[in-house]
Amino acid sequence: MNEKVKGFLKPLAESLLAVFIGFFLGAIILLAFGYSPFEAYYWLLRGSLGSASGVASTLSYATPIMLTALTFAISARTGIFNIGAEGSVYFGAIAAIIFTNVYGNVLFGLLMGMLVGAMWGLPAAFLKVFRGVHEVISTIMLNWIAWYAVLYLVTGPYANPSDPNKTILVPESARLPLLGGSNLSVGFILAIVASIIVYYILWHTELGFGMRASGMNPKGAEYGGIDPKKAIIWSFVIGGFASGLAGAVEVMGRPPTYAISQGMANINGYGFDGIGVALVGRNHPLGIILAAMFFGMLRAGTTMMQIGAGVPLEIIYVIQGIIVVAVAIPGLIDIFRNLRRVRA
C-alpha cells in the first residue's frame, strides 16, 4: 500500500513542479514584454474558476483533451508513441455528423464516432505490427491524410446547403444534453467515465495486464503468453475509441456549433494538446483527469486575462510548452532537491 502511495505522490509532485516552472518562466517572458504577470495570472484564475460559467467553460475545454490524452496514455502504457489522436478526432466528428443525420439518436452518434475513430487507429497499428513502421512517423503522416480526407467531406459532400460555412448539423434529437443550463454538456461526464474505463482496462483486466506487460518488456510479455502485437493493435483501437468520442462529443455537445465548421477550426489541435495533458498527467487516467482540467483552466482563463490584463493569449501555449519540456526532465524533483542541498 505504502509503495502505491509513494508511486503516486512522486509523479504528482514532479508534475506540480513542472507546472510551477511553466508559470515561473511564463512570468519572466511576460515581464520581458512589459506585461504584469501578477495581473495576468490573477485574471487567468478569476476567469477560469471565479464564476460558474468560468468553471463550466474550464470543464468544456477539458473534455476533448482528456479523451485525446487517454489515446496517448493507453498506447504509451503499451510502449507506443501514438500521436495519431488528431486524425481520429476528425473522423469521429465527421462520422457523428453523418450518422446522426441518418438516424438522429445520441447513442448511435457517439457509437459511430467512436467506431470510426477506432478504425482510423488501425492503419498505424498494422503498419507498426506488420511492417515495422515507427508509429511516430506513420501517425504524423496519417494525421495529414485524415486532415485532407475529412476536409474533403466537410467542403464537399457534407457541406451545409443553407449555411456553406459549416457542415450539415447534428439534428436536435442527437445533441448531448447540457448540464444545468450551462454550456457544459454531459460530454464531460463521458470523458470522466472514459478515463475510469481506461483505468479499469489497464489495471483490472487481463487485456490491460497484457498491454502494460508489453509496454514494459515485450519479450517478457511474449514469454508470459501475451501477444505484444495484439496488445499494440488494441492500444491503437482503444485509443481510437477515445479520440473518436472526443470528435463526436465536440460536434454533438459543444454549443453553439453542432457541426464542423469550414477549415475544421472547431475540432483541430485536440490531438496535440492531449499529448501534453497525458504527459503532465503521467499517462495515468486519474492524473489525466486532473491535468485536463488544469489545461482547460488555462484556456478558459485567457478571455479574462485579455480583458483584464491585456495579455495576448498565445502566452498560454508558451506556458504549456514549457511545462511539457519540464516534465521531460527525468527526476525533476531530485534535481531540485539537490540544488537545495547545494545551496544550503
Binding site: 509503495e3 502494460r212 514494459m216 517478457g220 514469454y223 503468453g225
Partner: protein, 508 residues
Amino acid sequence: MEEVPLIQMKNIVKVYSDGTKALKGVDFSVKKGEIHGLLGENGAGKTTLMKILSGMIKPTEGKIYINGEEVHFKSPADALEKGIGIVHQHFTLVEVFNALENIILGMEGHSLFSKIDVVKATEKLQKLMDELNFQVPLDIPVEKLPVGVQQRIEILKMLFRDVDILILDEPTAVLTPIEVKELFRVLNLLKSQGKTIIFISHKLKEVIEITDRVTVLRKGELIGTIDTKNATPQVLAKMMVGREVVLRVEKPPKEPGAPILKVENLWVKGDRGEDAVKGLSFEVHAGEIFGIAGVEGNGQTELIDAITGLRTVERGKIILNGKDITDRPPRELYDLGLAHIPEDRINMGLIVDMSVAENSILGLQWREKFKGPLNSIRWNAVREHAKKLVEQFDVVVPGINAPAKSLSGGNQQKLIVAREVSKEPVLIVASQPTRGVDVASTEYIRNYLVKLRNENKAVLLVSADLDEVTQLSDRMAVMYEGEFMGIVKPEEVTEEEIGMMMGGIRRE
C-alpha cells in the same frame, strides 16, 4: 628491497546506485609482466573490480596506484592513457562495423576531419597480426563473424592501442577448447613481450594452466592471493566457495515413464538467419531430467525458444504429451502443461517493473481462478497466490506489491521457479536455472528440479555449468553447433569425453 607492484588497488569499495554493495574493501596488486588470475563465483565482484581499474566506473572508496603513483580515472580514456586495456565479458563491438573500423575507432591516427587512411591502417594491423600469428578478416561486418573471431578483434583492438596491461574478463567462456589453446599461446607470447595480463575465469583448470598468481574474491571481499604453483583445484575451489564440499544433490534412482516431449528432426534458424539447430531428435520422459550441456552459443537458446513457442520452427516437429505443438504460441503450451524457466530472468522471466504479485501470474493470468467478470483480474486471488508462492519458496521480498526489480537476483530466480511450478506442469524446461544465483538458492533450485522429477514430471535442463548437468541429469546430451555430439548417461562418461564432445568431437 620490496619491488613496487605495477598495479595496486587499495581498499576498493563499490556501492552501485541501487544500493548493491559489489565490493567491500578489496586490495589487489599485480606485478609487471605476470599473468594474474582473478577468480570468484558469479557476482563475486570480479567484473566490478576490473571496470574500476579500466576507468569504466568509479570506486565509491579506495585508491589506485600505477607504478606507485596514485591515479584517478574519470573514464576509460584515462586508463588507456596509462596503458590499461580491457576486453569485456560482454563484447563491446560495433556490430555493423568491420574489424578494421572497430579496431581503429578512436585511434584513427590523424585529424578528425581528414579521410581515414584505410591502406595505412590495414598495413599497421596486418603487421600486428603477423607478429602474433593471430589473424582476423578486416573487411567483414563483425556481426557476421563467429564469437571466437570477435574476441580476437577485441584483443587486437587493445593491442593496437599499445596497452601494457591487458585485462580479459572471462575470455574462455565462449571458446572451444581449440580456441582456448590458441588464446593461451597468444597470451604467453604477449607475456614474453613484457605485457602484464589479468585473466578472469571461473574455470580452475584454466587458471592453473595459464596464470602466475591468482587472486580470489568472494561476495565482494578479498579472500587472498596465492602463487599458482602452490595452487590445486581443491585449494582454489575452497577459497572461491568458502566451504570444502562442493554441492551434492540427492538423487534416488528412478525408472523413466512415458515420453512427454518428443522432438523430431528439428531445424531452427538463429537471429542472423543461420541454421542454429540442425535436425535434432530426442525425447524427454516423465520422471526424467534430460540435460543439455555445451559451450553457450551452440544453439541451445534457439532450441529452447522453439520448444517453448518463442521462435518459429524451420522444419521438424515438436510433440508434447502426444499433441503436435510445433509453432504454437506460449499461451497454448502453458495450457498443455509446459513450464519454462528462461535463461534471461531480467528481460524475459520477469517484467521487472511490475510488482511481485503481478509477476506471480505472468503466464497464468488467464487461468480460471484469477478471472472475474468482464475480462477482469481478481487481484485478491492474485495476491493470495503470490503470498503462497513467496512463503512456500522462501522468496525474500520487501512486499508483494514491490516491483520485481527490487529483489536480489537469487530471489528473482526463486520467484520464477515458484511461479512456473505453480502452473502444475507436466514438462519443465529449465534454462540456466542457477546462473548468477548464490549457493543456497542454487542448492534449493537444483533439489527442487530433482523433486519434480521424483514426482514424475519431465524436466529438460540446459546449462552451461557442466557440474550441474552431470549431477542432475538422468540422461544428457552435449550440443555443438546445433547438433548433439552424443546422448549419454552422466555416470557412464568421463570428464575428458564430455570435454571432447563440447569441442565438437562426436561420440559413437
